[in-house]
Every structure is written in C-alpha cells, then in structure tokens.
Symmetry: C2
Subunit: 386 residues, 2 copies
C-alpha cells in the first residue's frame, strides 16, 4: 500500500458568513492549505459538500472551487454522503493518491448554510434521510435524533442532565480555538436551564449549523519538497461503512454498526488497537450521536457512553480526549465540511500544534464522520510519523 | 498500476418510468450487473447522480442504493460532477480498485427526472452552471448550448441542416437497442422540418431528459471466478479534467479543452493513439457538444466536426463510429447515469455482443462524459483483452 501523508491544512472560522459566498469561503481554506503544504501543486480536487445544490442552487462544486482557486485543468469532483461528505471526500482523496494515479490531492469541505434561511434549511438537511419513508412524514434529522435520545435515556435510565458533559467539554475546548463559532465555556447549570429544541434535545445537545470550509493537501512522502517544514502526519487507516438509510429498518437503533465496522477496519489497517488511540474526533452533531459512537467504537460499553462525558473522561486530559478543538457543538457544524475540519484539527494535534488544547504526546488520532444516524460512517486513523 | 476490468454490466430501459422510484430503478441495473459478474460481491458502491437532491428530495443516494440492494455494510458514496457524474463515478470506482483498497466495486449511475416536472427540472439542471454568474441570469444549459451552436455556425458557415447527421446517426443506432428511448430512424427531411427548442437548437439537436440506471462491476483480473464467462474488458486509461465553470470565462468557447486533455491522458495511459480507437461514445446531450468533442479529441480539425456527421463517417461502418447504441439523443439522456450507460454500451461492443450495432472487430473504445459545456470531462479507454 502506498503511504499517504497530510502535507497541508487550511480552515476558515466557522460561523455565519453572510458577506461571502461558497467559492470565497472555500478559497480561503484552499489558500491556507496550499501555503501550508510548501507549494505542492494538486492534480485533483475532492470537494466534500452536501447542501449546495439545495441551498446555493449550485451543483458541480468541484469545478467551481478548482476554477476559482486558479487550478483550471486539474480533475475535480464533488463527494456527497450527507453529513459524512467531508470524511468521504477525504477517503476518495486518499484512494486517489494510494492508487498511484494522483500525486497530490486537494480535499476541500465546504458548506454555506446562510445561502438560505428558514424551513428550507431543515428541508435540505432532511435529504440525508429516507425521502420516501422518513422525510415525507415530516421527520427532520433533529426530531429523529430526539427520538433516539429519548429511547436511550429510557433504556439506560439516564437523568435529565446526563448528556451535559458532551456540551461542557466541547465548549471548554472551543474557548481557545480561534476558528470556533462559540468560544464561551458553559457550566452544568447552563445546560440544565437550556431551552428545549426537540424534547429531550436542548440547545446544547445539538450542534449549530454554520458556514465553514476546511482543506487538506495529500501526497506521498517521497514527493514532499526537500526540507519540508511541517511535522508529518500519515493516514494510517481509512474505511467507510453503510447501514440502512431509514432508522426504522434497524434491529437495534441504539447501536451504530457502521461506527464500529469502519473504526475497526481503519484500526486494523493502521495496525493499532483501541488503547493506542490518543484522541477521538467524533461526530457530535447531536450529543446522542457522540454517546453512541463512544460505545460502538469501544471506548464504553453499551449504555454507558454518556458516563464517560459525565465523568470528564473525554476532556483534553481525560482518558480519551474528544472534540479537542470544540467539536461540532462549539466549533460549529458546517455540514459536509465537518469531516474535513476533523482531519485539520487532528493534524494540529499530531503536529503538536494544538496550543492550549494540545493532547499531551498525541501520536494516534481517530476521526469519524457520520451521515444521518450513522447510515454512513467514515473513519480515519491519523498518526504522527515519529 | 493494478489492472482493472469490467466484470459485469446492467442497465434499464431509458424513458419515463412514472411507476417506479429512484431506488427501484437503480436496483434493476444493480441486479443485472451483479448477475452478469458471476456472483462477485462488491465492497464499495459509487453512485453517479446529479439531480436527486433537487428532484427527489434525496441526498445520500449511495446509502439508499446499497441498502435497497441488500448490500448493507459496504461503503457507499455519491459522486457528482453534473452531467459527468456517471463518468466521474466510474473513475472513482476505478481509483478505488486500482488503489488495492477495494477488491470489487459497484459503479451505479441513476437519474429520476420524472420525480419532478415543469420548470423545476430546468432549474435543477441549471445548477450545473455557475449559479452566481450564469444561472442567476436565467440561462439554462439548453439556452447556453444554443448560443454555442449559433456562434459555431456563424464562425464556420454551417448550413441550417449542418448538424442533422448527429441525430440521423443516433436514431439509426437506437432502432436495435431495446433499452433506447427512441427506436425510430429519422431522415434528413425530418430534421429540416423539426420544431425549434432554442434557436438554432431544434428538437433533434437536444437529447431527451429521461429516467434510467446503469451499473458496472469492477475488479482485478486475479479475483475473477474460475471459468469466468464474459469476454474481459479492461479499463486501460482513465482521466478527468476541468475548465472554467462559466462559459464566458474562456478564451475560446468553441474549443473543449477538457475533452482534449482528458482524452489525451487516458490514451497515453492506455498506450493507444487516435487511429487505434475503434469507436467513440461522446456526450451528445446537444449536437454541438458532439461536434466540439470530435474536434477536441482530434477526430476532426477545428470547425469541421459537423462534417464528419454530414459525411456519415460516424455511423457504425464509418471511419469513427459514434453513439453506437443510439447515444444520448436516441437512447435518451439520464443525467448523471449517462456516463455509466456509455461504459455499459462500450463493454457490449468490446465483448462483441452489440448485435446489429456491432462495430466490426472493435478492440478499443473511447468514452467521454461531460459536465456542463465540458466544464468537466471524464474520459476512459476501454479495451478487449485479446
């Protein structure tokens, strides 16, 4: 297998970018990643995007970004797997370089929520679920996650503030991340008093939809310029898996099969075991997703994922640090770009450049990007080379 | 480079499938391809689709198809590059197998136009162009192609019926293709009397939007079951390229750079030259596209592509047979599935199983899938193994 490394990273602040469009947003991240990669020239662009055809009347996003970035001529394509579009884009970029056909790949995640406001956004997000059997009933991803969370709380006797630890950790980590949307720590009491969105999901159990773009430059180690300045980060494992699209088709709705399968495959490829993973970037679009991922990947037994958060074990100095730069809850949820943000943040950790959020001695990170309620899961193991 | 072969093909009739949905349509093609591949089990599904998020309120099409086909657990992703989504899906499937990470890949192209009718369809198709600078002006792909064709006719003094040969050839070839939408031959006079759509594009210069699904099973030759029954077809070359998204940003709007670049790269990889190509499946969504592709690829000099059609040189027994199963004009244009249909039809030719449409002794085929006015071009060289 050809080794693939992350040579450059770029990202924009996550938030409401009313003043710039899809292309400008993505360009900022692309520019950052290309500069960071010390002048590597991409031959291919993989754009992770979910919502532009609906929110921005724009398909063909791969070409749009390549064109606007002055990369005319290279190949470009859009990769879509709902909320996992960013992770899936990274995987396609990885496969392209691993195949030997592409020397340098640019992976870009971008989402521009503010191109539309109101019910149109929920409608667009609902295209992630089964249109004929779920969305048609009026179910949105949020109301679906609420049903999941309610069932979980019932099955495992979780108290009303049992999920607070996820938001408390995320917001604590967001404070020092200058690209995070929310940079204010919250307390347990803040969670307890929070407004309800879709019972039992309160405003702290759901990540904010937001604009954002992140980019990665992938290549083979032998193609790096001599005297390459960045500490090297390798994609040691890459895997994806799918479940039923509709939640009601599953035998056990409280177990994310795909999170388990894809993480297991990625770890196997990387030759790493669970206890060697120094941090985990989960897909905390909803706190219930985070809990179920911790269980499926194996950091907690079934029904006990929330306990890890409650006990503070997911903090930067905890047993398994999660959402180390604020996660989707505090950094913000830029849809199809979210999975690329995970990779950018993990690279900062593995380079030892995560500042006050640095996980001490981080050498192996697991990132996991979900589409729908883990209908898709894409997992990558990133490692520092030394 | 790992060798990649097409082990199985499947397709549905192209037309207006009012009675079945996206998943059923795709399933018919998947079932056909899996059966044809002699029981190979795919680990990954690449769905080429452009319009489902807009026309069917359905993103996450990769998962939908994997789930409905009983392939739960495999990885699946949607590949989008506007009209080139099918060709781009084939390329991603190719890269996945070539990387050694995926043993058997299923490439599915599917489009369900009849999920919406009226202006919504044109609006959805217009997401292929630059939303901020083209679509916002009310330009549709058809009106844009009309401008291109008008300019071409002016520059090269093409008579009013100069493009008739494209439609005459396509309809002649569609007669014997049981999956074609239109199976009636037309005459030069039919073209001359045809209703105008967007001057100078008449009803025979534009391919009909239609529902359809096609599928391919890709693998490495060493993984084929012993005694494998199908004549082997190899993907000998694969390449993609992008141009500016907006037509007005180009120096010369009458030359399809990407068609030239991607075909050139694919031929180089395959070690083949133009004179070795036995047939060419172009992207005749509009007859002007076909003319410009013939020129960019090199079968005609600039301004003379239409002459090949006029002289009958693109017929089954001509110098360079094109649209051998009816092309998009007569077989129909199933959007993001079109590029996969090209591969299915080329495979039939290279297996020697194209019936009355067989190009005698066909050993090397070029297929080319376009997104927008060649803003994307994806080219593949397919060859028979003997």
């Amino acid at each position: 297998m050809t080794e693939v490394v992350i040579a450059g990273i770029g990202q924009t602040e996550v938030g409401e970018h009313w003043d710039i469009g899809l292309r400008d947003l993505a360009f900022a991240a692309i520019q950052g990643a290309l500069k960071d990669s010390d002048g590597l020239k991409p031959q291919a662009l993989f754009a992770g995007n979910m919502l532009a055809p609906n929110l921005s009347n724009q398909a063909h996003v791969g070409v749009l970004l390549a064109d606007f970035a002055g990369l005319k001529g290279i190949e470009a394509v859009t990769i879509e797997a709902a909320g996992a579009s960013g992770g899936a884009g990274l995987r396609q970029g990885y496969l392209a370089v691993a195949s030997g056909m592409v020397d340098v790949a640019l992976v870009v995640g971008v989402e521009k929520f503010t191109d539309k406001v109101g019910p149109g956004v929920d409608e667009a997000l609902s295209t992630a679920s089964d249109s004929d059997f779920e969305a048609v009933q009026g179910m949105t991803p949020t109301s679906q996650a609420a049903l999941l969370m309610k069932r979980y709380m019932h099955e495992y006797q979780v108290p009303a503030d049992g999920f607070a630890g996820f938001a408390v950790t995320a917001h604590a980590n967001g404070v020092a991340n200058e690209n995070a949307m929310f940079r204010k720590a919250i307390q347990l009491e803040t969670y307890a008093k929070a407004e309800m969105v879709s019972d039992p999901i309160n405003i702290f159990d759901i990540a904010p939809n937001a604009d954002g773009a992140a980019a990665l430059v992938l290549t083979r180690p032998d193609l790096l310029p001599s005297g390459f300045k960045n500490p090297l980060v390798t994609i040691a494992g890459s895997a994806a898996s799918t479940d039923t699209l509709a939640l009601h088709d599953r035998k056990d709705i409280l177990y994310f099969d795909t999170a388990q399968i894809s993480a297991g495959k990625a770890m196997k490829q990387a030759g790493r075991t669970l206890d060697q993973i120094d941090f985990f970037e989960y897909h905390d679009a909803f706190s219930i997703y985070a809990a179920l991922q911790l269980e499926a990947v194996g950091f907690a037994i079934k029904g006990k994922g929330w306990k890890l958060a409650e006990a503070g074990e997911i903090g930067i100095k905890g047993r398994i640090p999660c959402a180390t730069m604020g996660g989707m809850k505090a950094r913000g949820f830029p849809g199809g770009a979210a999975g690329v943000y995970q990779a950018v943040e993990a690279t900062l950790q593995l380079r030892g450049r995560a500042g006050t959020n640095q996980v001490a001695g981080a050498k192996v990170g697991l990132i996991q990007s979900l589409g729908g309620p883990a209908s898709t899961a894409v997992s990558h193991i990133l490692t520092s080379l030394d």
